[in-house]
């Protein structure tokens, strides 16, 4: 895997727009373009003062630009004071960004079909994977779940690419697409697969913990490899504070591992739920 070494940069906000008061998309210029692995994240702050103190971990949504003029985008949901303050920042204001961070999805296995599963704002780390697979003409399908149609990502945010995969929208209230939970949609679709097709399948998932737990349990039962992107409260984001640990299996023992550095993407078999 190639990605740029981690750095701490100042970004200048170009756009910071809310969509349906649920998701925000913030774009900033940074000194140099960024190469990142889908699933990697950044620590982002920009509000003045010491309160809240800590930056917020956000998945890298898109990057671009040219030499000497990079661009970076994040999608976020307002969940607390930090993200509320972030949503109030204007074009021209600055962000402090540490990036890229963590281990992203492993998309380098030959001959695999990928199913990408995003629950809620989890699409923000799944879309970059879809964009990459689309560019490579690697077969994939995407499952996006939300409570209602208003909680689904806006259609125009869905990555295109040369070979866009099939996208299944799912809502718990049935206002759009499949009526039910995204996990059920994935399992139903799985039943349609031939054993041969199922043997080529790898699942990548990001979303609420309950969703990831269920995806892990169901894929493990069927012997399908799955990679799950976990979230946690973080202080630093680059491995020094040891605040964001989760419990992982290591052989028949368990150990505390950092979401920020050892993850955020883990093999589903490793995670102690």
């Amino acid at each position: 895997m190639t990605y740029n070494p981690t750095r701490f940069v100042t970004g200048r906000i170009v756009r910071n727009e809310g969509r349906g008061e649920i998701f925000y998309r913030i774009e900033a210029t940074i000194p140099e373009p960024l190469r990142f692995v889908p699933g990697q994240f950044a620590m982002v702050s920009g509000w003045p003062g010491n309160d809240p103190l800590l930056p917020r971990p956000l998945a890298v949504f898109r990057s671009g630009g040219t030499r000497g003029k990079g661009k970076i985008e994040f999608v976020y949901k307002v969940v607390g004071r930090g993200t509320a303050l972030l949503s109030g920042l204007h074009p021209g204001e600055t962000l402090s960004i540490t990036l890229p961070l963590g281990r992203g999805f492993d998309l380098e296995q030959a001959g695999r079909t990928y199913w990408l599963v995003g629950g809620g704002v989890g699409f923000s780390s799944v879309f970059p994977a879809a964009a990459l697979l689309g560019r490579r003409r690697n077969g994939f399908e995407m499952f996006l779940g939300a409570r209602t149609r208003d909680h689904l990502p806006p259609k125009e945010w869905t990555p295109g690419g040369k070979a866009p995969g099939r996208t299944h929208f799912c809502t718990e209230d049935g206002t759009a697409g499949y009526h039910g939970r995204v996990t059920d949609a994935v399992l139903e679709r799985m039943r349609e697969l031939s054993p041969e097709a199922a043997s080529r399948l790898t699942i990548l998932a990001c979303g609420p913990k309950e969703m990831l737990k269920e995806i892990s349990t169901e894929t493990l039962k069927r012997g399908i490899p799955a990679q799950v992107a976990l979230e946690n409260h973080m202080a630093c984001g680059f491995g020094v504070c040891w605040g964001c640990v989760v419990t992982l299996w290591e052989g028949d023992r368990t150990a505390y591992r950092r979401v920020c550095r050892d993850g955020p993407v883990f093999d589903a078999r490793e995670v102690v739920w």
Binding site: T6, M43, S45, P52, L54, A235, W242, C244, Y256
Partner: protein
């Protein structure tokens, strides 16, 4: 104007400037190499080391609070052997001055860790953690009373010839008395404050927010307490005091020097700005240049008490 002389002697360890990293916020130092050359710092103080690797507390280790954060990491660390074998050579390669923070469950363990580290010629000093609030055996039992501090300091003192710093807890009634006890038992310097014991609960789930229930408060929220305790300790003892607690900027660091600290350690600020230590160092240099102060010694302890404020 010539570059101001920021060098200072910290209980037998001469450092080129008074900006140090605080233990527990800086990993083993190397994690910061992507951001800047850590050999620029006065010293790197590494995460607390125990005799054997320590797994730490279960998840639910940090929570953000007003202008600060609570942590209950539980001193997860790789153990002294791996530190000496894997980390020390790399710290030597980058040319960093480094200090090992140590803790033990028992006096004997402190002694054993100190003995092992004394065999490392490049190690600048040993900082004894007599103040971790998050594990029962994190030193608080020793750090809460003058008698406990004196006993622990004396034991480690007899097991090492390295400069010996003792890191003090703020969770005490009389910090001056504790500092005097450390000095009397042979400490070469004291560093303070460690985190202040705190707690956060969720009023909806009705649960504590940390798995350990209580944790250590750090960040700008604790700076006034840290400054007061640094001032009290500096007045009480002759050995150097290293000020710690909520330092976010060069101005914050200078305030600690003014009340008598010989140096500072920067902690939680490193989490939100990985360059915090060098930013503070550069800000301090700029301040001395602007004010035409030739040396740190000309400024340190210069708090004006007449007609205050």
């Amino acid at each position: 104007m010539v570059t101001p002389d920021l060098s200072v002697s910290l209980g037998g360890l001469k450092v080129k400037n008074p900006v140090l990293s605080a233990s527990g916020t800086f990993g083993y130092g190397l994690e910061y190499m992507p951001f800047y050359d850590i050999s620029r710092l006065g010293a790197v103080v590494v995460k607390g080391l125990s005799l054997a690797p320590t797994p730490g507390n279960p998840p639910g280790r940090i929570v953000e609070t007003a202008a600060g954060m609570l942590n209950a990491i539980g001193l997860q660390n790789i153990g002294v052997e791996r530190f000496v074998g894997d980390v020390v050579p790399r710290l030597e390669d980058v040319g960093a001055t480094f200090v090992a923070n140590i803790y033990g469950k028992t006096m004997e363990e402190y002694e054993a860790v100190a003995l092992r580290l004394s065999e490392v010629p490049s190690l600048g000093a040993i900082e004894v953690n007599a103040s971790c609030p998050n594990v029962r055996e994190g030193g608080m039992a020793f750090g809460a009373t003058p008698g406990g501090i004196a006993a622990l300091t004396g034991r480690v003192r007899r097991s090492t010839g390295k400069p010996l710093w003792v890191k003090l807890s703020p969770n005490v009634t009389d910090i001056a008395g504790i500092a005097r006890a450390a000095e009397g038992a042979g400490a070469d310097a004291v560093s303070l404050i460690n985190t202040i014991v705190g707690m956060a609960v969720d009023h909806r789930t009705r649960r504590p927010q940390l798995s350990n229930v209580t944790g250590g408060l750090s960040g700008p929220a604790i700076k006034p307490v840290a400054l007061r305790m640094t001032w009290e300790a500096a007045k009480a003892i002759k050995i150097p005091v290293i000020g710690i607690g909520g330092i976010q900027s060069a101005a914050d660091a200078l305030e600690f020097l003014l009340v008598g600290a010989s140096a500072v350690q920067v902690g939680t600020a490193n989490f939100r700005n990985p360059r915090a230590c060098v930013d503070i160092l550069e800000g301090m240099e700029a301040f001395f240049r602007e004010e035409r102060i030739a040396a740190l010694a000309d400024y340190r302890g210069g708090l004006r008490m007449e007609n205050s404020p």
